[in-house]
Amino acid sequence: MTWRTATVVGLHDETRTARTLTLAVRDWPGHVAGQHVDVRLTAPDGYSAVRSYSIASPPSADGRIEITVEQLPNGEVSPYLTEEVVAGDELELRGPIGGWFVWRSDQREPIQLLAGGSGIVPLMGMIRSRLLANNAAPFRLLYSVREPEAIFYREELEALSAKHVTVNYAYTRAVPNDWPRPPGRVDRDLIASVTWPANLNATCYLCGPTGFVETVADLLSMAGNRREKIRTERFGPTGERK
């Protein structure tokens, strides 16, 4: 798989700690929603570091992709991408990578997306891909965040939520004013009230930190969803997967 040159053509902050980079990639072969790329940074003495980031943008023919990077404490690559990079910089990138945690625009079955924190990134790629393809598959998203300020793509999700995807939030630490549910993790009641009933046989895409994915995958199973319909992507405490 070849390394390609990617020029940073756009940057904007999603939250205090996360930033979206728009990259123009030379000879980008195209991708499927849910896939990721490897990004390589190289120091002047030749030392290099590579990390994987999910693609947030839908498949498109213009050779541009977006990634959203959450800055990790003591991260090696993420602080550079969230603080140092400016428009016009060139990075090296290869991909797309991954053939399991993907949503293809010819899928027609109901889709249940479940995100923990920055695990929203590949799922946003799926939502945008559905919209771009005019696919009418029913989508639901359950998005777990620490607090309202931690939501990525907030305005876009609000705009889409009326028509294209049913969005529900779970706040684990702080809730908005007048929010009916106290702060807390996703639990059995929430799964029962906001995710597709198991008899619809939805495909579930679950992405987030390991603890979130372990817990929610078990809850989905207990709610009657078949194991083979639950696809997961996890990142550990030190992982810079997303």
Binding site: M1, W3, T5, R40, L41, T42, A43, P44, G46, Y47, S48, A49, V50, R51, S52, N74, E76, Y80, E84, D89, E90, L91, E92, I97, G98, G99, W100, F101, T210, E214, A217, D218, L220, S221, R227, E228, I230, R231, T232, R234, F235, G236, P237, T238, G239, E240, R241
Partner: protein, 199 residues
């Protein structure tokens, strides 16, 4: 020629110098798998070896645990780029499981609860290179790390060390398993950085 990243110095340590290319050190134990963690009760667990048509060997949990086991201290290298050094395991060597099998089939497909599969050449699982591990760090192997038992083939990327393993099928020809069908390398040597199928 690589593009130099203006202002990037990186974080390096002496220990990272002995890692395979592109890996970084971690001290915790991240989890990666494709679906929910299966919870397998020991009285329903079994492990079988077949040749594609006949079951050649079979153990239930009790007979498996009566086999001679070994402690293994080894480094782990995950394709998602973390490496963890000096991990400690207990398991049954594949040399024990494959002993006195009259077959010269050169490839194996390991099968797991939850329908995961991964392929390996037989020459990579014999001669003290692979174990069915049931303890990690002195304790029973936790379900999210592959318990009750997982394959441990530490000289290859960790996806080859199938979690929740339940057996292997010997094969005349190599065939891709789960991740190997989805863009990952057919063999997966971390020292040659064989991450993806195109390299």
């Amino acid at each position: 020629m690589a593009i130099i990243s203006r202002g990037f110095t990186g974080r390096r340590s002496a220990a990272e110098a002995k890692l395979p290319p592109g890996q970084y050190l971690t001290t915790d134990f991240p989890v990666l798998s494709a679906g929910p963690t299966p919870h397998i009760s020991l009285d329903r667990w079994d492990f079988t070896i077949d040749d594609g048509s006949n079951v050649l060997k079979r153990w239930d949990w009790k007979s498996f645990r009566e086999l001679p086991s070994e402690t293994i201290t080894t480094d782990l290298h995950c394709v998602t780029r973390w490496s963890k050094l000096g991990t400690s395991w207990e398991g049954v060597s594949l040399d024990v499981l494959l002993a006195d099998l009259k077959t010269d089939l050169p490839y194996a497909m390991f099968r797991s609860y939850g329908d995961y599969t991964t392929n390996l050449p037989v020459k990579d699982i014999i001669n003290k290179q692979a174990w069915i591990a049931f303890k990690y760090d002195g304790a029973d192997l936790a379900p999210e790390h592959g318990g009750p038992a997982r394959l441990l083939v530490p000289h290859l990327y960790l996806w080859k060390s199938a979690k929740w393993v339940k057996g292997l099928s010997l094969m005349p020809h190599d065939k891709p398993g789960f991740w190997e069908s989805l863009g990952y390398h057919i063999y997966g040597d971390p020292w040659r950085e064989q991450r993806y199928s195109e390299e």
